[in-house]
């Protein structure tokens, strides 16, 4: 339910064939204007957009693709590049199955150095609510561009607002001829970086005034849900099947959530009314699929039928560009969940997270603003519960002994909770049945090797209801042991810490975003035969950075060696300036964890 149209566009088909802009870029937008004129007729506010861009080849010929988007609430009225015919295409994000957004573009060519090409487009926003933001449109280096928004005095409730504007953008607001004129002058704006794992863009221009406040925004959106026929013909049968064995309201909520998670798959259809209006619960049940709105409304319907106070909540996830408290606009809301109130406690129910147990709030909605319905056609803005590192755990517990032939032998258990559980179970269940054993081995940190025998693999809690999912197995690992003379070398570090990634700093221009807020740990014991003594164990290490706390403890207690390591990711963003330090820390950590345990045979 991400509705930020311009953001979507930047990820369009051009990604593959538009010239990447670097310091030695060849094509630039040498001159551009992007003007928006508000007007009102018969009480309906519309916005006319006129865009004109001049592309220039700075060093040689080049292919260029001038483009503009349109779709629901926004019609394309004119498009022109002399000598070229426009092309029209649907653009749908990979996470959306079907949508309404289209793009008009030209496959044009600048024939030689210094040649220019003029592209012009006109659009009309027939519903001003869909005019949410203005992109800088910088697939190319922008030399000079002016974005102008003209608002008549009579419509002064509308305005535009720059959010985290970069230094290349200068904002000016003046009044002239009875109009408010907002101008953003862009000079020498580079193309946006495309580093891997870069945080979402947080700068742009937002249109304000479409909604008086968050309550107005909620009311507008909520009316779509209220129009939906929520009757379900076999609701008694479904509820009784879903809640069989449940003894309390909380259990009933949990079972109902689980029923939706198990029986409805997530498919996002954002076409026509479906972009805002949830599918009818009866239809979601028939289709066995739905998007976040459809799942949330189905949950509310099933819970209400059980006399449980359940409400719909609009969510502004971590991916939303602005928050409704900052600017109440359609692009500040990008998700919908259901909230159940039982015994004075809120339960946030997001069935799109297939393996999330009751009460779990995913990292991407952690602490986010949400608006839910209140009695009497009112609503309330709250913050969703905070997701902390300890909610998403990936922990390995193993108890090994040393076999005489030179292998560590024992049982290993890999526990997953929270987002870690969701990632692990999704990967497991989406793998073909015949390949799951191999995948399980990898999850247990053992490579496919003729020297490693993994047996008795089993899962427990591999469902949405359980808080913890556990993968267990018996392992005989010869690769972890090296015997030379009287010395025996053992490596207990179970696996590479995938969450601690070394950042490729070459040419990088942005901060780096770590995979998730989470906690990874290993707690491993090795029983050493009495015929051996412990010569050395890895040195203990504790490192704390702004992003993570890393601790390694390894000690010998009699004939037992205890190897414990723990990684706590507390902040996902590694700033550009600190990436070298981060890499050094990760390398130091990896080196410490891989240090071998040295045992000595007593009789030699």
């Amino acid at each position: 339910m991400i509705r930020n149209l311009p953001t979507l566009l930047l990820a369009f088909l051009f990604a593959t064939n538009v010239c990447a802009q670097t310091e030695d870029n060849n094509v630039m937008v040498s001159d551009a204007s992007d003007c928006y004129y508000f007007s009102e007729k018969n009480g309906v506010v519309t916005v006319r957009n006129e865009r004109a861009e001049t592309y220039t080849a700075t060093r040689m010929w080049a292919d260029v693709q001038p483009f503009i988007s349109y779709g629901r609430g926004c019609q394309l009225t004119s498009s022109r590049v002399r000598g070229y015919s426009p092309m029209y295409k649907n653009v749908t994000r990979s996470s959306v199955f079907a949508g309404d957004t289209k793009v008009c573009y030209f496959n044009a060519r600048l024939g030689s150095k210094g040649e220019t090409l003029r592209a012009s487009f006109e659009r009309l926003y027939s519903d001003v609510r869909f005019f949410t933001d203005i992109p800088f449109h910088n697939d190319y280096f922008i030399k000079d561009k002016v974005i102008k928004v003209v608002v008549p005095k009579s419509l002064s409730r509308f305005a535009v607002k720059g959010i985290n504007l970069p230094p290349s953008v200068v904002f000016e607001h003046k009044q002239s001829g009875g109009n408010d004129i907002y101008t953003f002058t862009i000079t020498n704006m580079p193309t946006p970086p495309t580093d891997d794992n870069q945080p979402d863009n947080t700068s742009g221009i937002i249109v304000t005034g479409s909604f008086a406040d968050y309550a107005d925004l909620y009311a507008w959106e909520h009316k779509f849900a209220e129009e939906v026929d929520c009757s379900v013909s076999n609701i008694d049968q479904i509820v009784s099947e879903a809640t069989a064995g449940a003894n309390s309201d909380v259990e009933r909520v949990a079972r109902t959530l689980e029923w939706v998670q198990n029986n409805i798959r997530y498919v996002a259809v954002e076409k026509g009314d479906n972009a805002w209006k949830p599918d009818a619960p009866q239809e979601v049940i028939r289709k066995t699929y739905g998007d976040c709105k459809g799942m949330a409304l189905l949950l509310r319907t099933l819970l209400k039928h059980q006399k449980i106070d359940a409400r719909l909540a609009d969510v502004s996830s971590a991916k939303a560009f602005v928050k409704p408290s900052q600017v109440p606009t359609l692009c500040s809301i990008d998700h919908m969940v259901c909230v159940a109130f039982v015994g004075g406690k809120e339960y946030w129910l997001d069935a799109t997270n297939k393996y999330a147990p009751l009460g779990f709030v995913s990292d991407w909605t952690s602490g986010c603003e949400a608006i839910y319905e209140e009695p009497g056609n009112k609503c309330r803005m709250v913050r969703m519960p905070l997701h902390t590192s300890s909610m998403s755990k990936d922990s390995v517990v193993a108890d090994y002994s040393l076999a005489s032939e030179g292998a560590i032998v024992g049982e290993i258990k890999h526990h997953f909770t929270g987002d870690m559980k969701m990632s692990a179970l999704t990967a497991y269940f989406e793998t073909e049945s015949q390949d799951r054993k191999e995948l399980s081995g990898r999850m247990l940190g053992v490579a496919v090797s003729p020297n490693i025998d993994v047996s008795d693999i089993s899962w427990s809690g591999a469902d949405s209801r359980s808080d913890v999912s556990t993968l267990s197995a018996k392992i005989r690992n010869k690769d972890a042991v090296e015997m030379v003379g009287s010395e025996v070398y053992v490596e207990l570090n179970p696996m590479k810490d995938w969450i601690l990634l070394v950042v490729n700093t070459e040419k990088r221009k942005t901060d780096y975003e770590l995979p998730m807020i989470a906690e990874c740990s290993a707690d491993i014991t090795l029983s050493v035969p009495k015929s051996m003594t412990v010569e050395s164990v890895p040195e203990n290490l504790t490192v704390e950075t702004d992003n993570a706390v890393l601790s390694l403890l390894c000690e010998a207690r009699g004939q037992k060696i205890i190897f414990r390591k723990k990684i706590v990711i507390k902040n996902k963003i590694v700033p550009l300036a600190k990436q070298s330090d981060w890499n050094a820390t990760v390398k130091r950590w990896n080196e410490a964890c891989s240090e071998q345990i040295v045992l000595k045979k007593c009789n030699q």
Partner: protein, 713 residues
């Protein structure tokens, strides 16, 4: 004007109008929907008991997916129509209707994902040299629940997305409602294709899959006036042949419990049963031998003659020889035939990649033949087939015959030109293939076998020099790749400019490098574009070098790249190996072990083949290219460290059998640890009975990759 004539004119005009209207009429959404509903109704009304009441056998219940039944219906007709392509003309069209239907058991989430969402364009057009081909498509889905309830997906559930000029192009999307794990999905896809003024390429009906298929049926109805040929391969049974009431040809085939094949080390063209079917309109493009009716192909000669009729071998002057080419030919008068051939071959390659929009194989051979004649070198044409197709002595269709040039004086065969291979080397897919050599008039045909590569010729040789820097390793690796082992590395690690420059040097042209050529041939604007291409190609090359390191050691090894250098492009006869040096630093192959160090020495030899549990069981023969790997690692031990005799001894491994071998030897040369590894896959084909012998060697090699050695202080 007589009344009779007026009536006749009116009838003709009416006929023209009917033809015209049906040819250009645009179908609206309602028309399409009616058509699609009709197709679905017709298909689901067909009596097909294997699609009803499916029951998954107990032994297959744990499978990810099982194809309970598959049915392919092919109908081929012909039609005379008015065509409106740059004017009005009559068009001899072939109309192909193909319907495939599959009933699949959804065993798990991965199969549910695979079968739950669809997207297709309802109509498409394809402009060819003959006119415009048009295709119309319909999808039909039924869901069969465990209890046997059948529900057909209603047309309303299809989402229509429009795009293109005036939203004329329609894409239908369907997320299948009601489909869950444990269900069966009955998927039907129906296409009608109109081929304007030409026939279509051969159709292949294969009787195998990588998943279980319980029943597979084919039914074809072909207009009797078309020319229909077919041939069976690898034990596929002939169609049951009959005719229908109209005298049209009817072909049927059924296979129960299709064989399952793995996805690696197989050669489908030689292993899986299949039928090759080809149909021609006698009034459009067709081979010389085509005649109406049905013919089972039992010979190869007819197809070979058809192929011969379509090629020229130096007789047709398509392109004038360039000045460069003429000069090269003049300059090589005093050279031996072998040297002449190499120069001419390289200059013709240059001509084909520069300025002539890449010639096709036939054009290249024609021009190559022409140049050879001019240089006074005689040659003989030959035909062979790609290893993905049938052998030439079982040729089922002239489509699959590949032309080539045999030069007796140097005993060399030239087939598809590959810019990165030296003159005279045979591309991988033609090595060891059967061929027929003929004379200039195609009167006699002599069987030959094209040269093939031995395991010794297909070699990867790596010399790895390693120096310690604390717990980091400075690695300098030299690759020397020959035979078929070099091609993919050349493609990734060389640029277009490198190929071009090497061809120029080999051909002895005026401009000695691609850069010189650019400066000499192009105006400043085009030149700037070409220079930019070179810059981007170098960036891509650098990325590929880094990927090569990652592929060699695997993703778990932390590498910091330093530099690389190409020593030999491997494009000349006298230096046919591709030689490449790369330097980098590895930071996680040395681990502290008390006062000692533990070195992952196996990782320095590169990644070895891994067989997953599913891949270890095999019931079909093994096909691959014979090859040799010779890797030597020289490690300068850090000061004060050594390797004990016992530790050294563990690094010596020797496993050899008739199929493969893995030998590793370690020695200490002063303070240098030397590990030499040799791995050989000896043959290009092994019977399945030898599988365990191959697995034995693969496992030993994999174990060696995980080998560590203790460096004692």
């Amino acid at each position: 004007m007589s009344k009779r004539f007026t009536k006749m004119m009116a009838a003709v005009c009416a006929a023209v109008l009917v033809l015209f209207s049906s040819a250009v009429k645009a179908e609206n959404d309602a028309d399409y929907r009616k058509y699609a509903d009709g197709v679905r109704k017709e298909v689901y009304a067909m009596p097909m008991p294997e699609f009803s009441n499916p029951k998954i056998p107990d032994e297959l219940k744990n499978k990810s997916s099982v194809v309970m039944a598959r049915y392919t219906d092919v109908s081929v007709g012909k039609q005379l129509k008015f065509a409106f392509n740059f004017g009005i003309s009559l068009s001899n069209d072939v109309l192909l209707t193909r319907m495939t239907r599959e009933l699949v058991y959804i065993g798990d989430e991965s199969t549910l994902k695979e079968y739950s969402e669809y997207e297709f364009q309802t109509h498409s057009k394809n402009w060819t040299g003959y006119g415009v081909d048009r295709q119309k498509r319909v999808l039909g889905i039924r869901v069969i629940k465990k209890d046997g309830t059948v529900s057909e997906v209603p047309t309303d559930d299809y989402i229509i997305e429009s795009e293109g000029y005036k939203d004329k192009n329609k894409t239908h999307k369907l997320a299948v409602p009601g489909l869950q794990i444990g269900d069966f999905v009955d998927v039907m896809f129906h296409t009608v294709t109109r081929y304007q003024n030409h026939s279509f390429e051969p159709m292949y009906f294969t009787f195998f899959d990588t998943k279980p298929v319980l029943s597979d049926k084919y039914h074809c109805v072909i207009n009797k006036d078309l020319a229909t040929f077919y041939r069976c391969f690898n034990g596929a049974k002939r169609f049951v042949e009959s005719t229908n009431a109209d005298g049209d040809i009817v072909l049927d085939a059924t296979v129960l419990n299709e064989p399952q094949f793995p996805e690696f080390w197989v050669k489908y063209s030689a292993q899986v049963p299949y039928i090759q079917l080809q149909i021609y309109h006698l009034k459009s493009d067709k081979p010389k031998s085509a005649q109406s009716g049905l013919r089972y192909v039992e010979d190869y000669e007819t197809q070979l003659k058809d192929a011969w009729a379509g090629v020229s071998f130096g007789k047709i002057p398509f392109y004038p020889l360039s000045k460069d080419a003429k000069q090269v030919i003049r300059n090589c008068e005093k050279l031996s035939d072998k040297e002449k051939v190499e120069r001419i071959y390289n200059v013709m390659l240059l001509m084909s990649i520069n300025g002539h929009s890449y010639w096709g194989v036939e054009s290249f051979l024609n021009e190559f033949g022409k140049a050879l004649k001019k240089a006074g070198i005689s040659f003989k044409p030959f035909f062979t087939t790609d290893e993905g197709d049938e052998p030439i002595d079982e040729l089922g269709t002239y489509y699959n015959a590949y032309p080539g040039i045999y030069i007796p004086s140097v005993d060399e065969y030239y087939v598809r030109p590959v810019a990165i291979m030296p003159a005279g080397e045979i591309p991988a897919s033609f090595s060891g293939r059967k061929a027929f050599v003929t004379d200039e008039k195609g009167t006699t045909w002599s069987p030959v076998t094209l040269p093939s590569y031995t395991a010794e010729q297909n070699k990867e040789k790596y010399d790895v020099a390693v120096k310690f820097d604390g717990t980091k390793l400075n690695v300098s690796r030299r690759l020397e790749l020959s035979g078929l082992r070099k091609t993919s590395a050349q493609m990734r690690l060389l640029t277009f400019g490198d190929f071009d420059s090497s061809l120029r040097r080999n051909a002895g042209t005026k401009e000695k490098s691609y850069e010189e050529y650019i400066w000499a041939e192009f105006d400043s604007n085009t030149r700037a574009g070409k220079i930019e291409e070179i810059r981007k190609a170098r960036e891509k090359q650098l990325e590929n070098v880094k990927s090569e390191i990652e592929n060699f050691h695997g993703k778990d090894v932390q590498v910091d790249f330093k530099s690389f250098k190409v020593e030999s492009y491997g494009t000349r006869r006298d230096s046919s190996s591709f030689v490449f040096n790369v330097d980098y630093e590895i930071s996680n192959l040395v681990k502290k072990a008390g006062k000692n160090l533990m070195l992952s020495v196996g990782e320095l030899l590169g990644r070895q083949t891994t067989l997953d549990e599913n891949e270890r069981k095999r019931n079909v023969d093994i096909y691959y290219k014979p090859r040799t790997f010779e890797h030597t690692v020289r490690i300068d031990l850090p000061s004060g460290y050594t390797v004990s005799a016992e530790a050294l001894g563990k690094l010596n491994v020797n496993v050899a059998n008739e199929c493969a071998e893995f030998v590793a030897k370690a020695s200490l040369n002063g303070s240098q640890l030397v590990v030499e590894m040799r791995k050989v896959y000896k043959n290009d084909h092994e019977p399945v009975s030898n599988w365990n012998k191959i697995v034995e060697v693969v496992d030993v090699a994999k174990n060696y990759q995980n080998m560590q050695v203790v460096l004692s202080k």
